[in-house]
Amino acid sequence: MTTLRLDPAAELEGLAAGTKPHLIGVRHHSPALASVMPAMLAEAAPDVICVELPADFDRWLPHLADPGTRAPVALAGAYPDGGLAFYPFADFSPELAAVRWAYAHGVRVRCCDLPLTATADGAADQAVQGPQITFAAALAARSTGRDGDDMWDRAVEVLAPGCAPEAVRRAGLGVGWALRRDAEAAGGVPTRDLVREAYMRKVVAEAAADGSRVTAVIGAFHAPALTAFPGDEVPPEARGEVVTSLVAYSFDLLDSRSGYPAGIRDPRWQQQVYAAGGDPAKIEEAAAHVVTAVCRALRDAGHTAGTGEAAEALRVAGDLARLRGLPAPGRGEIVEAITTVLGQGERLGRGRALARAMEGVLVGTERGRTAPGTPRSGLGPAVEADLEALRLPRPDEPGPKEVRLNPLGSALDTRRELLLHRLAACSAGYGEQLEVAGTGDGTALTTKWRLAWTVAVPARLDLAGVRGVTAAQAAEGALRAAYRREGADGVTCGLLLRQLEAAARCDLPGLLADLVAEAETLLPSAATLAELVVALDLLEAVGRGHIPGLTADERVGRRVRALGDLLVETAVAGIPGLAGSDRPEDAVALAGLAGRAAEDRLGLRLDESLAELCRTGSPLMQGAATAARVMLGLDDSAVMGGRVAGWVDVATRPETRRALTGRLTGLLAAAGPLLHAAPSALRPLMERVENLSDEGFLARLPALRGGFDILGPAARDRVLAEVQDRLGTRPDLTLTASPGMLATWHGADAAGRAVLAALNLPLPVAEAAEPTPSPAPTRAPAVPRRIAAVDRWRLLLGRERGGLPASCRGYGRALDELYGAGSGEGSQDLGAGTEASFPSARDWSEELQALFGADVREEVLADAAAAGRLDVLAELDPAAARPSVELLTAVLTLAGGLPEQRLAALRPLVRRIVEELARELATTLRPALSGLATPRPTRRSGGPLDLPRTLRANLAHARRTADGRTVVVPERPVFKTRARQQADWRMILVVDVSGSMEASVIWSALTASILAGVPTLSTHFLAFSTQVIDFTDHVKDPLSLLLDVKVGGGTHIAAGLAHARSLVTVPSRTLVAVVSDFEEGAPPEGMLGEVRALAQSGVHLLGCAALDDRGAPRYSVPTARRLAAAGMPVAALSPLALARWVGDRLRGERA
């Protein structure tokens, strides 16, 4: 290693003055050096120019220098193992300038870097970096990343304008020297670089051997190493064939943010600096062009950006440059100035538009081309060679052909599968994957493709060729481009997951690592629970190597596993969002998630979330959370039993009975596995059921049956068996008294009976239904029970109906009408319940009335309606029906599918329910909306002086002055408060009708109808799913509104908000409330942008995760958080809370 421990100035002088060789230290892209390159070379007048390019590229130099070649172009060398060396060139690449000058002046050029075919010790760690083996990237990497980049920029680029070529050369050499010294100080120059430098020295020495003057155009970092010739030759070893190519390239790929190696930021700007040729005035002019172009693009995007701002931005850029002592503004100054003046401190919304405008103006999309006559190279030939090697259809054997691959079993098939996926990613139109059916539950392990080499394939490969020279690189480029295009308005989690899977299938570790990094930020903040589950599965497949051909990379694997852990935590954080759910799937998901999270460790957070759900969730989630807590060992199963028994006890009113159904459903859905293992957990419930009075049991029977309906028939059979076991052991348990004592009791009983009979008193009614006499009838509780314990269970489980006594069959039959046999395991078993169903809904309804009473009948019928039985609705008496949102929900769900004739029959029912509910609601809401702001006098100085009042208040302080005038000294001035102008306010309710929101939709419509009655408020009602429908005309008539809303479809909140925005006329007097579950189907950026735009204009925004009387929402927590950050607070509200919010705003009280 050369030691450099001298005075920097002297050292630099030595470097610059050297002529063996004459050194030009460059960075791979440098407008400053490129524009002075011809002048420097003309002055040095070399015989040979050595350029730092691998020697393999010698044969491409004439084509590179050809005047017909238009930059940007790229030289590439592909190793057989997939590694790639990549050297893009633009007009502002100093090497390209040197090569062009040399060919124009008849000077020899030699590539002096180590051939790609050669490798050396220490290459192993280089191979990991793969495409990073370029000097620009090397420079950036050797110099602590961005700081080093800035260092070159600051020390060379921005200072260069107006300087002499020699000064620019020295600046470059100086930076290289400094970087090298840093590297040496920080642990030495990597072996690979030392080997390369040894080779460079060898080539330079060979070139200079005949006395020629040599100029070496090499990376500034390497310059100090070329001055000494220690003669340490490292014999390079062969690394197999390298395929080199010269391909067209484009500015958008050249930009360093594109994911391609060896790029530079903002190529179009660099091109303009190069074109300015080092003249500060011309650079200022270019800056002016950039600023005006950005302003224009910003205006096109709908933001204000006038000439005044453009002039100010240009001034700031220029003044910054002067403050920093620069001859002309550089890229950094321009970006800073534009951001300061035009960004207005917003990172989303305007900031995003500005970033896009700057990208368009500074990056550019110009495409290069190779000169006519350049040999064909790149993707097409590379793919043909691959196909040949893998014996797949190719030009000389075009197919079509169907192949079945076993990628997990055969190495050859793995490679084939990989290539086919990559070609598909490049849209080569070569193969088509066919469906393969799996066996049983398992997924298919083999894949099937239909392949053909058609004429379109080479043409498409040529198109894709600009993105890379091998299938892997082109696939990566194509995937990245598609991702950027689709994600232009913001990346959705779905898109990211699709891309992640594609990257894994195509085995693109670089892209995969980038995406995993992106997923680390995006998924935790934006994914819904469903997406998290998908992501967890995908990550598990990647982490465990279940994807064929995916290179096992320990670093990626570790990150993937870490991400998996992270996502579990995220999912735990999202649990509160399930609080309002009434879907059994969510209960199952909750249990699964809790189990998954607890596998690793049981967090405080999960504990608290579950406890919270137990207390405040919807009935279903309360049940599920209760079960989950027991399964995780947070609660004892006795606690759960007690709680369940409590639920049964309170189920005396319709609401609590409905809650019982929900809680049981949630509990049983979540605790399925638990019940297998420890059915005794339900014992308190069993006792409670058996101890209820007959009336109590019958009133709760439909609710209990509904709750147990979630279990499949087989599972219910198991519960029944457990019950029978338990009941079967009862005599043993109760035989605590000795047989002798029992005999005594029996004797006493018999004697008592005889006495009663003798006195002619009525005897207690014999328990006719009980098939076997109870062993100790006198110990029975005071309440007589007609229905035996086991029959109760038969009824509420809906099993073994054959075993029921005749008196109970009616109940079973009436409920079977609603629940049927159930679904799932055992539903095919036809052992029971073969009785005929009711001939008509009327019969059924009457039977229910007779058996259970009116209240329960109504509940059962409403449930039946909700389950899709249209005919039962006719049985509900409009006058007698108890108005409830549940019933209304059920009716309205069906109303959507009804012909007008049937609808007409329903109208009275709906009208009555709606009117009742609206009347109740109005009573609650009215106080919140009353009261108006009135200006009052005040002693606080603020508004204008209230002269009459001030005079009146201060007459006591009147003084007569010496000249006879009277002066009132206003010790206590009185002011007017600012009177608010009474302009009309506008309330826009934006309501999601995409599916799970029925209750909230009803409450929204009711609330809207009441708000519509407030005189200073005009109320709009927008219903949206993927489309937006304006129901403002119907807003005063909730009945017709509700009958017209069609529930269903996806969620596109941005569309709803966009329509709301079009209704805004006076933003500061507009209220927008969005009622939704916030599971946006479109990219969230659109929605966030709309929210931000509304918030910026001053509209009062509120998001309602639920609008109902329960206040337990089911919504996407991450989205809600992002919305809140964008300016729309999200909460679960009752209509009263919403009305209070509206009232507060109208009265001018700010949040």
Binding site: T304, G306, G308, E309, E312, R315, V316, D319, L320, L323, R324, G332, E336, A337, T340, V341, G343, Q344, G345, E346, R347, E520, T521, P524, S525, A562, L566, E569, T570, V572, A573, P576, R601, G603, L604, R605, L606, E608, S609, R940, S941, G942, G943, L945, T950, V967, V968, V969, P970, E971, P973, S1068, A1095, Q1096, S1097, G1098, A1124, G1127, R1150
Partner: protein
């Protein structure tokens, strides 16, 4: 040395204004840099940058002036300060936005002290701020007794700044009502304020002297800049002040300021560096939503500003000095809970999530400090 002596001067004030605290540095910089100055400026733009960002440990000086080192006063990007100075040099309004507690107000005070020699021309924006604060008010007793005259007029800080060609500071501009904010539009565009009550006299209009401009600060967490009118926004250059990027710099700043607070309370700051490191780490993780190890952290709705970290450090310091009881580290979870749990109850869950994630992982990795914090989790519930 003299600066320290002055700082300890027995003036019974809790806080000494920047222009007095750094008076001799300002005088020195004014003497040392004789370059051209924008009209009305006390220093050259370059000297203003040096004053705020420090001279990087090197002595600066000029012929005839003894050279000295200028210490750093604002921890942050130098380029940000440069942009601010360039904006002010163009007499354009400067709006500093950012999370609460990112030293926006301090930067604005330093800038105005350096540029116009005083940071006192300040309007504090609140919901109750009226137009009088931007324009002028009246001495009503005088107004009623003598009628409108320039004597009865009470000039606002903005009006004073206009007359004298100085910088007016407006704190928390977005908390003013939009109608009130818009009083600034005409001042910033016409650079003139008319007083209709005095029409017919020489005082009917006040024109801004060269050098007048406005530095406003706005808090992104309150109402953001959303309620500002587009017309007003167009008259400002916006700079976003980010939280301190460098953990070590933040720790040093917190230690410095907490020491000062504790010393004002009459005790010595005796909190261990390890505790401060843990404090800074927790604050930074919760603020950025990402731990130093790259783990995702759920951000609470509360701002986790450096200023609040200073308060926590100072409270722990005072407690350790006057109420010594065990390890000050045990106090940290309780204080954190106080900082985090302000308005959103869900933030409590987020803090628990942080304990479950990064704290526990670090404890499992064997860090004794984090193990102690994990053991202290009961204080969080």
């Amino acid at each position: 040395m003299t600066a320290i002596a002055e700082e300890r001067a027995p003036t019974a004030r809790q806080i000494v204004p920047a222009e007095e605290r750094h008076a001799d540095e300002l005088a020195f910089l004014a003497a040392a840099d004789g370059g051209p100055r924008p009209p009305g400026w006390a220093l050259t733009p370059r000297a203003v940058v040096t004053f705020i960002c420090g001279s990087g440990g090197e002595s600066v000086g000029a012929p005839g002036v003894p050279s000295r080192v200028i210490p750093v006063k604002f921890v942050g990007e130098r380029s940000l300060v440069e942009r601010c100075v360039v904006t002010l040099a163009g007499e354009r309004g400067l709006l500093l936005t950012g999370e609460p507690g990112t030293a926006k107000s301090m930067l604005s005070e330093l800038l105005s002290a350096a540029v116009s020699g005083t940071g006192a021309l300040t309007v504090q924006g609140t919901a109750g701020t009226t137009e009088d604060a931007f324009r002028y008010g009246w001495n009503y007793a005088m107004l009623l007794a003598h009628g409108p005259s320039s004597d009865a007029l009470v000039a606002s800080p903005v009006l004073t700044a206009m007359r004298t060609g100085r910088i007016a500071r407006i704190e928390e501009i977005t908390r003013c009502l939009p109608e009130v904010q818009d009083a600034l539009v005409s001042i910033l565009s016409d650079r003139r304020l008319s007083v209709p009550e005095l029409s017919g006299t020489d005082h009917a209009t006040v024109s801004a002297a060269p050098g007048f401009t406005v530095i406003a600060t706005a808090n992104l967490r309150d109402r953001g800049v959303s309620e500002m009118s587009a017309a007003l926004k167009r008259r400002f250059n916006f700079e976003t002040v980010d939280p301190i990027a460098d953990a070590d710099a933040e720790t040093a700043l917190i230690r410095g300021q907490a020491t000062a607070v504790v010393e004002r309370a009459g005790a010595a700051f005796s909190v261990d560096d390890a505790v401060l490191d843990a404090l800074v780490t927790v604050f930074r993780d919760l603020r950025t939503g990402r731990s130093g190890e790259g783990w995702d952290v759920e951000r609470p709705g509360t701002v986790m500003s450096t200023a609040e970290a200073v308060q926590v450090a100072a409270s722990i310091g005072v407690a350790a000095a006057y109420l010594p009881a065990g390890d000050p580290l045990d106090l940290l979870p309780g204080h954190l809970l106080g900082v985090v749990r302000k308005d959103d109850p869900a933030d409590h869950g987020r803090l628990l999530g942080y304990w479950d994630g990064p704290v526990r992982r670090r404890a499992e990795d064997g860090a004794a400090l984090w193990r102690r914090l994990w053991d202290a989790r009961k204080h969080l519930q």
